[in-house]
């Protein structure tokens, strides 16, 4: 066992880990932050996507020890302290960008990264950026609409053809 320390959603945290402890297990198991989901556990689905030093990372495919000293943001850290939803979260709600909600934490984290890199993406850019996030319910249509809306763009023409 070893000790790891990192900043998660603005708070300094630490805990005991094994070499093989994954970041997602540290977040969910040790810290109780179960908003980050595990879908495939093989780096394919993006349900476990979090931000590490502002970059999108699949938490099932990074060891907790690798996050030593780093800044991690999970879905629990996205809304304001008073519970105000972020623009991406609000748009997912407004445009019904989810059904069962299993993929949603990863989708919101990925979409948030996209808009930080590219504040006004085209529909094609949204679809391309979300390639690593699988959704088994929505058919992606409303997710793409939500991301376009969150970026302040017209959603009327999304997937119109």
């Amino acid at each position: 066992m070893a000790r790891v320390s990192m900043t998660v959603n603005g708070e300094q945290v630490s805990g005991e880990i094994e070499g093989r402890t994954l970041l997602v297990d540290f977040l969910r198991g040790t810290l109780g932050l179960t908003g980050t989901h595990v879908g495939c556990d093989t780096s394919q689905c993006g349900a476990c996507l979090v931000h590490v030093e502002d970059a999108p990372v699949k938490a099932c495919s990074m060891f907790a020890a690798e996050a030593e000293g780093l800044r991690v943001t999970t879905i629990e850290g996205v809304a304001g302290a008073d519970g105000t939803l972020s623009p991406v979260q609000k748009a997912f709600q407004d445009y019904h960008g989810l059904q069962c909600g299993f993929c949603t934490p990863g989708m919101v984290m990925a979409a948030t990264s996209l808009l930080e890199e590219n504040p006004k993406p085209t529909e094609a850019e949204v679809r391309q950026y979300l390639e690593g996030n699988l959704c088994r319910c929505t058919g992606y249509h409303n997710i793409v609409r939500a991301v376009m809306a969150a970026s302040g763009q017209d959603v009327g023409t999304v997937a119109a053809d």
């Binding site: 999108p56 990372v57 990074m62 990925a110 950026y129 690593g132």
Partner: protein, 263 residues
């Protein structure tokens, strides 16, 4: 996953020493290795993380104008920082997998793994790159030794890759939509002393140079020069995604698209 010790050296020398231990293995981005560990396909006694070693990260230009990329540099960093110096290489890095894979995956991990469908091997081979390790320099032409095999010795670390910058180049990738790896992809580059064309995703021998196309393009860098050229289906991979004939066909299509994109 089996249990293992986790080492996080901060210098190359420390990493080398840690990798000298029996059954120790390097960990870079983990995008290939972590799934293998989970499937118990790898069982190292110690995993030596390369992510905390600043001296093997970053993009720079050397005195000969080559683009030099540290072995531990992520795909995302190459996509961003090589764009001004070697656009075809940066564009390749920016199309590997998805954004989260690019945040973690590294050039050293990709080359060391030499997946028969990986993107960096054709860039290295198609650029005549030089692969630098902690103990020697290996020309890309001598580095790749068939599917998942390379010239690397046990515990040898890729510290840097030097790419001579061509006059024109382009990587054309026909993505397999489920895995996001190439089904077939071609890296074509025009250098003052001739053309290089490297193919990934197609051959049972892994990445290779398509010499017939190189000869045609060396005398005439145009789509017409390779219009009639057909790659052999013999020795190509056949699986549920595509037959050997289809892969051979795609080699021609991707080569022509790559050349067309540079004109």
């Amino acid at each position: 996953m089996y249990e293992f010790e986790f080492a996080r050296p901060t210098t190359l020398a420390e990493a080398k020493a840690a990798l000298a231990e029996e059954d120790a293995q390097a960990l870079a981005g983990g995008q290939t290795l972590i799934p293998s560990l989970k499937a118990r396909l790898a069982m190292p006694s110690t995993l030596v993380s390369l992510s905390g070693i600043p001296e093997i990260k970053g993009v720079c230009i050397d005195d000969e104008g080559r683009v030099c990329i540290g072995g531990g540099t992520t795909h995302a960093t190459v996509a961003r920082e090589a764009a001004a110096h070697y656009p075809a290489l940066a564009s390749l890095a920016g199309r590997i997998g998805d954004p989260a894979v690019r945040s973690r995956g590294t050039i050293g991990g990709s080359l060391a793994n030499n997946d028969p469908s990986a993107c960096y091997p054709p860039a290295a081979l198609g650029s005549g790159a030089l692969i630098i390790t902690d103990s020697r320099e290996i020309a890309a032409d001598d580095f790749f030794a068939g599917m998942f095999e390379t010239a690397l010795e046990e515990g040898e670390i890729i510290t840097e890759v030097r790419f001579p910058v061509p006059e024109r180049a382009r990587y054309e990738k026909f993505a397999q939509p489920a895995s996001r790896f190439p089904l077939v992809a071609v890296f074509a580059a025009k250098y003052a002393d001739g053309a290089r064309v490297a193919v990934t995703g197609a051959s049972e021998e892994g990445v290779f140079r398509w010499t017939a196309a190189e000869e045609a393009l060396s005398s005439d860098w145009s789509v017409e020069a390779v219009e009639e050229l057909k790659a052999e289906a013999d020795g190509m991979i056949g699986d549920i995604h595509a037959s050997p004939e289809y892969r051979a066909h795609l080699i021609g299509v991707m080569t022509r698209r790559a050349v067309a994109a540079t004109l």
